[in-house]
């Protein structure tokens, strides 16, 4: 269990070693506050959607899931992508309404980032990895939490570095996107070194 969590958070960090959610990672990292908001939103959505998709995959889509209804040959795994993206979009929508009603401060803090998360490939990617690695329900909860925290840590650190870099002299061609890539590369390098230290 702890293994799954640590691997998801550090060793196989979705942003830095699988490049998932890069578009948002690069676009929404100008300020630490917004990056933290987005990271928080991602953790929440990840913890809900990965287990939800796990249940849907096990009880509705995998081969033989409909045996109780007299259809043991039915295999709906090809509907996985549509089902998962539907769940993610629906979850984000429900979460948005729920937060608006019960935790308005959090809703205001997350703002525009909540709907944007629907098309963040870190979410769909985590669900797909969960299926590919055959995680159980409990493992999928831990995996969702680990990937969420890992991604949030990465974007907050990255935003903090970028805030500092704002006052430095960068060659014209590297301004903006170019330097962002190089920084992410260095972060990824550091992370894989850290992961190597902890590897059993």
């Amino acid at each position: 269990m702890i293994d799954v969590f640590l691997t998801a958070m550090i060793g196989e960090n979705l942003a830095l070693s699988f490049f998932l959610g890069m578009c948002t990672f690069l676009a929404v990292s100008q300020r630490v506050e917004t990056a933290a908001g987005l990271g928080l939103a991602l953790i929440v959505v990840q913890v809900i959607t990965v287990p939800a998709n796990n249940l849907i995959h096990t009880y509705l889509l995998s081969e033989g899931a409909w045996a109780w209804a007299g259809m043991p040959e039915l295999d709906l795994t090809h509907l996985r992508l549509i089902a998962f993206i539907g769940v993610i979009a629906a979850m984000v929508q429900i979460l948005e309404m729920g937060l608006d009603r019960f935790a308005p401060w959090l809703y205001r803090a997350l703002g525009i980032f909540l709907p944007l998360i629907t098309v963040n490939c870190a979410i769909l990617g985590a669900s797909l990895f969960m299926v590919e690695r055959r995680y159980t329900f409990a493992e999928s909860v831990v995996y969702g939490l680990g990937t969420g925290i890992g991604w949030a840590l990465a974007i907050v650190t990255f935003a903090a570095i970028r805030e500092r870099l704002r006052y430095s002299l960068i060659p014209a061609g590297l301004q903006g996107l170019g330097s962002a890539f190089l920084i992410t590369g260095l972060m990824s390098l550091g992370l894989s070194a850290a992961a190597g230290l902890g590897a059993p």
Partner: protein, 216 residues
């Protein structure tokens, strides 16, 4: 005709989706460990983006504004499922190597971005040209990065060893090139090179450092 051609060629260098519009970066980095995976991914993405842009553009006048995102996602994911099935059927080993990244074309912001920004407002012909141009622009970056990473990291191109061909017998492959950080470095340096060549793409800095006038 020239406008169509312009739509097709502009995204190749001048408005490249990866290096300028920041679209579709996740997969551009992940599948470039070898040239073969980069080529397969480019092909899959180009087919999906062309078909989805054309289809969405065909029904653009019948899509209600409030549910357009869901409709776009459904069309795109249906196409991706077909593409994934085709890959599994005819290139099983390749589909295993690409892992989840074919499925992730669904949330590739390049496909969604072009559908939302272009196909929703233009006729099918123009949308197709725009999608093809963007698909090729994306492919161009993937091929360059894939060639560099495979060539330097494994010493091969498309699994053909390079060293005997170039007379570099003592060449030791750089293992780092196969790891994640190298993808970031190569893309960052590529952007630098591209912007040195086309200075109009340079982003303006948020602040300017201007010496110490107040000291004087």
């Amino acid at each position: 005709m020239t406008r169509l051609l312009d739509r097709l060629t502009r995204p190749l260098i001048d408005e490249n989706p990866v290096t300028l519009q920041i679209l579709g970066i996740c997969s551009a980095l992940a599948v470039t460990t070898t040239l073969a995976t980069a080529l397969t991914m480019s092909l899959a993405l180009t087919v999906v983006i062309c078909l989805s842009a054309t289809l969405i553009s065909l029904i653009r006048n019948h899509i209600p504004q409030s549910v357009r995102l869901i409709i776009q996602i459904t069309i795109i994911s249906a196409l991706v499922i077909v593409m994934d099935g085709l890959l599994r059927a005819f290139a099983y080993e390749m589909s295993q190597r690409l892992s989840v990244f074919v499925g992730l074309i669904v949330t590739n912001c390049l496909v969604m971005g072009r559908a939302e920004a272009f196909a929703m407002r233009h006729p099918p012909g123009a949308s197709f040209a725009d999608a093809l141009g963007n698909g090729l622009g994306y492919s161009l970056i993937l091929i360059v990065v894939g060639t560099l990473r495979e060539g330097l990291g494994l010493g091969t191109i498309l699994a053909v060893p390079l060293a005997p061909m170039l007379g570099l017998e003592g060449f030791t492959p750089i293992a780092l090139m196969q790891r994640a950080p190298a993808a970031f470095f190569i893309l960052g340096l590529l952007i630098w090179a591209l912007r040195a060549w086309r200075p109009t793409q340079v982003e303006t800095p948020e602040f300017r450092v201007t010496g110490h006038e107040e000291d004087a």
